[in-house]
Symmetry: C2
Subunit: 312 residues, 2 copies
C-alpha cells in the first residue's frame, strides 16, 4: 500500500514542524499557506530542532485548496482565531473517509468540523510542543513535540482506539514524532486544558514564564486552584481527568524547561488570543453543568481586556 | 480655647496635603519626616491643588518624634508597608487623650495602634483623594480630597459620633477639607475596600486606569464580582456596606475622572505594595467567617508575584 497523502492547513510552527517531519520521511505533503506560498515554493522549509535541522528544498505549497484536492489526511494547524476560514478551506481537501486532524488548542472544535464535513473522520491532535515560526518557512522547534490523538464521536462518548487513529499515529511515529492515542477525545481535551487554562492566561496577565509561576508559592497555589476548577468541569462533563492528574501537572511543570505558552507568544507578537477556544467554550460547558469557575472566568475577563488593548 | 496642635507622621502626598491645609489656616502642625526634613525646613511645602497653590515657607519638620513631643492630634499618613516603624514613632507624640487618626488604606490597622497606645483615642481616616508627591515638599493634589472619619472601639461595634471625631472633623472642615463622620468605623473601612480591593489590584495586574476597566464590559463584570465578594465579607462581619452600595460604586466610578489608584502609583514607582493591609488582613477576616473570596484571593496572589518581581 502506498503512503498516505497529506495536506497541512497552516504553515506556522505546528504545521511547519509536523508537515516537514512527514515530508522528510517520504510522505507526499501539500502545504496550504497564505502569503507565504511563493516563499515556500522558492526557498523551501527549514526546521531547526534540538536534534538537528530539517531542510526541505522542494515543498508543495498552494494558496487554494482546490489545487491540492482530496487527500488521505488533513492536518489542521491554524490558530483557532481563524477557524471561520475552514468552512472554505477544508471541503476541497476532503473525500469520504478523509481523516481530518485538528492539531489545535481548545475545546469543542471537532464537533463543528464534523458538522461541516459529515463524511470525514475527525480527530483531535493535542500537541505538547514548544515551537515558533521565526520567518516564512523558518521554524524553531525548541522543545518537546509529542502528539496525543483522540477521535470525535457523534455521541460524545469514547471512540476506542480506531483504525484512523492508528494510521495517523503510525505515520507520525515513522516520522520521529512521539504519539499517544486516547480512547476518549474529550477527556484528553480536558486534560490539556488543565494545563493550558492556567498557564496560557496567567503567562499573559502576569507576563511570566512557567518557571516564575511555579516557583512562587502563592502563584503555584493559584495555578492549582485554577487546575482544580478545570478538573471539576471535566468530571461534571463525564470526561474526568483522573485522580492525581492535577498533582502530576504541577510536578511535571516544576520539572519542565521554562516554557512560554502559545498564548504568550501570540500576545507578544500582537496576534489575537485563542480565548474563545481555550476559555469561552469550555467555560460555557462548565456553566451549563452548574460548575463554578470563578477563577477561570476572572482570568478570561482579564485576558479579554488585555487582548482588546493589544489589538488597538 | 486655643487651636489644637497637630503632628503629621509622613510627608508624602496625604501628609503633605492635609498637613499643609491645616497649617495654612493657622494650626500648629509639626511634620515628622525622614530624609526630607532638611529640605522641608529649607524650602517649605508646596501643594498644587485644583483650586490654586498652597505655599508654606515656614514648616516645622523633625526627624525625631521626641523633638515634637505630645500633641492633641496625630495624623498618621505613612504607607502601611512601614507600619512597624509606628511602634517607635508614635509613643513620644501621644499623651492620654491624644487623638491618633490613621489616614491609611487597609483593614485592621486601628486595633493594632489601640493596643500600642491604650491611652489614645484612635480614629480611622479614609481619604478619597488623588494626590502624589513629585519631590520632597512638593505635592500635586489632582482631584477629590474628602475624608471619612470613624472611631475605633474595643468591642468592634459602632462608636456613635464622638467628640473626638467631631473635633478633627471641625478642624479639617475649617481647612477646606470635605469631611464625613461615620458611627461604624469597620463598616466605613469595608466600604472603602469595596472600591479599593478591585481597583487597586486590577490597576496593577492589568496596567489599566479606572476608565479602561469600567469601560470594558467583561472587566466591569469582574469588578462587580470582586466588589460583591467584599460586600459579602462585610455582611458576614456584621458591618454590611448596605443595599445598593456596589451599584453606587460602579456608577460613581463610571462618572469619575480617570484615576490611578494608590497601589498603581506605588507599583510604577517601584515601591512595595500595601498588600497586607488592603488584601491579606481583610481576606483573613473573610476566611475566618467562612466567606468564599476566590476572585479576591486570586488577585492577591497575582499581586504577590508582580510585587516580588518589582522589588527584585
Amino acid at each position: 500500500m502506498s503512503k498516505r497523502r497529506y495536506a497541512v492547513v497552516g504553515t506556522g510552527a505546528i504545521g511547519g514542524l509536523y508537515g516537514a517531519r512527514l515530508a522528510s520521511v517520504g510522505f507526499d505533503v501539500a502545504f496550504l499557506g497564505r502569503s507565504d506560498v511563493e516563499s515556500l515554493r522558492r526557498d523551501g522549509l527549514f526546521v531547526a530542532t534540538p536534534t538537528g535541522d530539517l531542510v526541505l528544498d522542494a515543498v508543495t505549497a498552494e494558496g487554494d485548496p482546490k489545487r491540492i484536492g482530496p487527500v488521505d489526511v488533513v492536518l489542521v494547524t491554524i490558530k483557532t482565531t481563524g477557524q471561520a476560514a475552514l468552512t472554505e478551506l477544508l471541503p476541497p481537501l476532503v473525500r469520504p473517509g478523509t481523516i481530518v486532524v485538528l492539531m489545535q488548542n481548545g475545546f469543542g472544535l471537532e464537533a463543528d468540523i464534523a458538522a461541516l464535513l459529515p463524511d470525514a473522520v475527525v480527530l483531535g491532535g493535542m500537541c505538547f510542543v514548544c515551537a515558533t515560526r521565526t520567518a516564512p518557512g523558518r521554524i524553531d522547534h525548541l522543545d518537546y513535540g509529542a502528539v496525543t490523538l483522540g477521535q470525535h464521536t457523534a455521541h460524545g462518548g469514547p471512540s476506542g482506539i480506531t483504525a484512523s487513529m492508528a494510521a495517523v499515529a503510525e505515520d507520525l511515529s515513522s516520522a520521529g514524532v512521539r504519539v499517544a492515542t486516547r480512547d476518549d477525545l474529550l477527556a484528553a481535551r480536558w486534560q490539556k486544558l488543565v494545563w493550558n487554562m492556567p498557564f496560557n492566561g496567567l503567562s499573559v496577565v502576569l507576563d511570566a514564564g512557567t518557571d516564575e509561576m511555579i516557583g512562587d508559592a502563592r502563584a503555584r497555589r493559584l495555578v492549582r486552584a485554577l487546575m482544580e476548577e478545570v478538573a471539576a468541569a471535566a468530571d461534571a462533563h463525564g470526561h474526568g481527568v483522573g485522580d492525581g492528574f492535577v498533582d502530576k501537572m504541577i510536578a511535571d511543570t516544576e520539572a519542565m524547561t521554562p516554557y512560554a505558552p502559545s498564548m504568550k507568544l501570540d500576545f507578544d507578537a500582537g496576534r489575537p488570543l485563542e480565548s474563545a477556544a481555550i476559555y469561552d467554550t469550555p467555560l460555557a460547558v462548565a456553566a451549563s453543568l452548574g460548575v463554578a469557575t470563578p477563577r477561570l472566568s476572572m482570568l478570561a475577563d482579564q485576558l479579554h481586556l488585555l487582548d482588546a488593548r493589544n489589538r488597538r
